[in-house]
Symmetry: C2
Amino acid sequence: MSDTVLTNVDGKPLSQRGIDTRRRVLDASERVFAELGYHEASIVKVTEAAGVAQGTFYLYFDSKKAVFDELVRDLNRRVRHAMKEGSSQGKTRLEAELLGFDAYFRFTAEHPALYRIIRQAEFVSPEMLEYHYERLSAGYVEALQAAVETGEVGAIDPEVTAWALMGLGEMIGMRWILWGKGKALPDDVWQELGRIIRGVLEADT
Amino acid sequence: MSDTVLTNVDGKPLSQRGIDTRRRVLDASERVFAELGYHEASIVKVTEAAGVAQGTFYLYFDSKKAVFDELVRDLNRRVRHAMKEGSSQGKTRLEAELLGFDAYFRFTAEHPALYRIIRQAEFVSPEMLEYHYERLSAGYVEALQAAVETGEVGAIDPEVTAWALMGLGEMIGMRWILWGKGKALPDDVWQELGRIIRGVLEADT
DNA sequence: CCGAAACCTGAATCGGGTCTCAGGTTCCCC
DNA sequence: GGGGAACCTGAGACCCGATTCAGGTTTCGG
């Protein structure tokens, strides 16, 4: 994790003013891409939302796709951070897993852009789609692997289990957070999700 | 399920020749949309792939979005049919579930268009995205509900469980079928998936 | 074999998108 | 308070796409 210096398209480092403008454009991109989707989100709309001229966009990003890729990286970093933060409070693997899910759902509620942008990546930037899921699953795998090694959970396959948990969380999040009214998981759904995750972490006896 | 008569855009029934041409355009759409994505898939490319002129497209479909919607309905009908077919051979709920997954993975291997088109629906046609998942989950719910009622599985919530299974299947399918080389689930992954599904169907003791 | 219905054609219309660039403006150090 | 570096502007060059439509071709019952 090296801190990379922000640069303009020519590779020159930015002044504080440049850094701020770049951030404004990136944030505006998140909003506009999330609301309209990649293709409907024109550079005109993004720059309007950011309050800058069209040309300014190209001072900081090579292309429309480049800002999309960066958005994926940015959101990915942020969810993983939120999830790690949440799960770190857990005393057992199961508790940690549930807290991680909770953090994930909260993040989803606050940043629907995550879903909406990832969905588009399939065609806009397939490599970023893989990047996102690979990194997300890596976090799970690591934690599950550790839990297997300490004997806290039985003989499960961390890789397959990680992807299963990820898929299950994504779908539940879509159904109850994204499509739901309250922007939070209803209690009974949360209960049931607990049961399911418990089942998933249970090795054959 | 009423058989609907195929018509041109004015609502007139088609002759056999018309039916064939319409089908050619729809099939070409599936191929082109799956390969290039909705936005890159121009009507020019679709009609070229179908071997007809651009105008012909509009004899059978109102718009580019209309053919997309129909594609979703078509693929949805076909996966559900394949899954029902597969799971109906199962003697127990678990066995049926596994056979359903197997059918789903086979379908995915043969029709990657399913994933690729559904992903796009988020922005192209949100109502079709919901349509797809709602109908898919409905199949699960019905079967799970029945199994709960006969006491074959314990006190699980069919709705939440259905969406969890769906999400898990989708993610595993993406990772090992769509991204994988062999277009089939490796044995060890399949084993592990069995364990996971078993866990998901297990009510609290 | 004729006439109308059904089908097919593809150039043209119209709208809109990304990215460039020549010309300002602001900042900041000396 | 002057000057160069960094930053910003927005009109327009250039490209591409969905949809239409006036005119041709095929089919088929009688």
